[in-house]
Symmetry: C2
Subunit: 188 residues, 2 copies
């Protein structure tokens, strides 16, 4: 039941935003009685924090692994990793965007719980990208005059911004520009 | 009364998000009776679209003008323009962030009216930055191997992402990194 609530929460929040969906909608989608919600989660905010963890764990077990795939040159790992969101968003008609960015925009000032969870996820995300950049720097494939953590952080923030812009335009161009500038001009 | 509603709408939406504030809160803040709201705006969504216009016009009459200040070298105009948000956000303890980015995250999929308004504002914003980049390219101060519009778009999206990250962290580091990478490494 907990799993179903998390899954329904992820889907509802991603589709309608955190303030745009209610506990009622989430329990309806999960097909569980409303009373059960509060046996599993103290509040919608608590569910939101766990939805973020779930989202991150799915990502860490999925696409993120390409960044540490030593069978590929580091620059190729970065290319595959940063090209994937464009394809994924195109398949969804540029709807939904990035759950992390959306919750950051909506809740950073309103929920310390959510902001702290996002901060911790972005730190781990930055670290994973920075490790790959560092491999690329050692291999002579990535410029070394920008510190790996700084470059990783800049790239992830730029990706969030490009994703947001793609959602406004309902078009892939902002993500194509991100990939071009980031991979063909900035990091090399 | 219309002006007061727009001002109250801007303040409420910026502070609590579009779905996080209601018409009641906006009319209370404006000090006008609720019935008057609908004499001036068809809906909260219609108010939101006009708040965006107002926000853009304020920006275009204010900070944006530094980008076309021909008494300064183009690179210096870009430096002043892109350094300003960091100072502004620090003064607000990194709360609120960018109204455009926030409304994009919250409403791009839910309101065609808002998404279209955002698209038009971002186009004008990109154009203003691209013109300055073009001046910088002509003056030999900005790299010419990236097309001015593409670079402008990338920079603005990266700024939106860095602003979002600064709000999560309640810290200026993401914006300092943005300025460093963008101005000292990417555009020159």
């Amino acid at each position: 039941m907990r799993e179903r609530l998390l899954e329904a929460g992820l889907s509802s929040i991603h589709r309608h935003g955190f303030n745009g969906c209610g506990v009622q909608e989430i329990v309806d989608l999960a097909g569980v009685p409303k009373g059960s919600f509060y046996n599993h989660f103290e509040s919608k905010e608590a569910l939101g924090a766990e939805v973020l963890d779930q989202f991150w764990h799915d990502h860490a077990r999925g696409l993120l692994r390409v960044l540490s795939d030593e069978s590929l040159p580091p620059i190729e790992r970065l290319r595959r990793y940063f090209s994937a969101p464009a394809e994924k968003l195109a398949a969804l008609d540029y709807k939904g965007g990035c759950l992390l960015g959306n919750m950051a925009a909506e809740l950073s000032d309103q929920s310390k719980l959510i902001a702290d969870r996002l901060s911790s996820i972005f730190a781990r995300w930055t670290c994973a990208v920075a490790n790959c950049i560092r491999d690329g720097q050692s291999a002579g494939q990535v410029r070394t005059d920008i510190e790996a953590e700084t470059l990783a952080s800049f790239l992830l923030n730029a990706l969030e911004g490009a994703t947001l812009r793609a959602r406004i335009e309902k078009d892939g161009r902002p993500l194509a520009q991100f990939i071009d500038v980031a991979l063909n001009h900035l990091i090399i």
